[in-house]
């Protein structure tokens, strides 16, 4: 089996930590905290939970660093641990569903939707439209199955190769490509109103309404 020892950019840092330089681990944390929390947030939909899971991931990584034998890249290893912890959390949640702290209201269609406190200051209209658009993309992403969501986030936001994503997901490269393709197809279908016109139909509708 070909090892990732030569191509892994984190090898020097890991070797230093293994030698006992514990403070070097902070460099690894700084390097991976953003992508990890970003992925975990999109999996568990809770900022605090995502940070807690990321912390648990780093602690687990630190404890198991001696066992890390460079057969895979450090980045894929850490993302695999994070994903497994997130999956455990999601399983635990499904067994013990807790009441949400956020307000829940019922929409016209009878669907429960979450309401979050808007802490933003007043901003220009185009900024609002952009935020609304990102909200729609987030909603569309949350509708994807977990493996498709993980695959597309690692592909689009973390610039991982198909091979690396396959390693994190524990499946073949072709299966990974298929997951990403299916995820994109679903997202295209959900975001069709925007992708066709470059603007949300409802946003346009709102704008038209506001005009005298």
């Amino acid at each position: 089996m070909q090892t990732a020892k030569n191509s892994d950019p984190d090898i020097a840092l890991i070797l230093e930590i293994k030698k006992g330089k514990k403070e070097v681990f902070a460099v690894l944390i700084d390097k991976y905290k953003k992508p990890l929390i970003n992925l975990l947030f999109r999996l568990v939909h809770d900022q605090t939970e995502a940070e807690d899971l990321a912390q648990a991931t780093f602690v687990q990584v630190y404890k198991s660093l001696d066992k890390f034998n460079f057969s895979s890249r450090f980045s894929t290893w850490i993302f695999t641990i994070a994903r497994n912890l997130a999956l455990n959390e999601l399983r635990r949640r499904s067994r013990h569903p807790a009441d949400s702290m956020e307000l829940e209201v019922e929409s016209d269609e009878g669907i429960i939707i979450h309401q979050y406190e808007d802490k933003r200051s007043p901003v220009p209209c185009d900024h609002l439209i952009k935020e609304e658009l990102f909200k729609k993309v987030e909603e569309a992403l949350s509708k994807l199955p977990e493996n498709q969501r993980t695959a597309i986030i690692l592909f689009q936001q973390e610039d991982m190769s198909y091979e690396e994503i396959a390693e994190v997901l524990g499946c073949s490269v072709s299966a990974t490509k298929s997951l990403i393709h299916r995820a994109r197809e679903t997202l295209k279908a959900i975001l069709k109103p925007y992708l066709q016109t470059g603007q949300w139909e409802e946003d346009k509708h709102l704008k038209n309404k506001k005009e005298p």
């Binding site: 944390i29 905290k33 990102f134 592909f155 689009q156």
Partner: protein, 176 residues
């Protein structure tokens, strides 16, 4: 443009990493060679850019310090030695299950044997009591021999026939 470069540009488009220059080149290439066209190219490029520009989740400013202090805490925390199970423990554990299983089987077998013996004894007791009753009968009425019962069916039939004949005779007598 080589095939390899085209594939690279296609992947950049999917990843939302196309700048204006690369996008222009990709579109130009597709226009000159329609066989390389990407279905819904506009949507694909837009979706790629949307996903790329999606705001990332915020991170607490003290996150690194928090993790490091957690690691510190775990390292300084006195480790409570957990007694590792020995081979003897393992064997005993396995033995306990085996003994329990054998005990259950033995209890079941014992219960079956006890039920069988009890029903067998009950049948034997019944037979003995019947025999003893007959023996008692013989003692009390020695004239009544068992042989008197051997033509019992015939005698019973004779009785029925005689009843039939009597009726016939009565009818004949009445007619006279």
């Amino acid at each position: 443009m080589s095939k390899n470069e085209l594939e690279k540009l296609k992947e950049l488009a999917l990843r939302g990493l196309l700048d204006d220059e690369k996008e222009r080149r990709l579109r130009m290439y597709i226009e000159t060679d329609p066989s390389c066209a990407i279905p819904d190219i506009d949507k694909e490029i837009l979706l790629g850019k949307l996903l790329r520009n999606l705001p990332k989740a915020p991170v607490s400013s003290n996150f690194t310090a928090r993790v490091m202090s957690e690691i510190e805490r775990l390292e300084t925390e006195p480790v409570i030695p957990i007694a590792r199970p020995t081979v003897l423990d393992w064997l005993l554990e396995r033995l306990v299950y085996k003994v329990a299983a054998i005990a259950v089987i033995l209890v079941l077998l014992g219960f079956c044997y006890f039920s069988y013996t009890a029903s067998k004894n009950a049948k034997l007791a019944n037979k003995i009591s019947e025999l003893s009753r007959i023996a008692l009968l013989e003692d009390k009425e020695p004239k009544i021999a068992v042989e008197i019962f051997k033509d019992f069916d015939v005698i019973q039939n004779l009785n029925q026939q005689s009843a039939f004949v009597d009726t016939e005779l009565l009818a004949a007598l009445k007619a006279n």
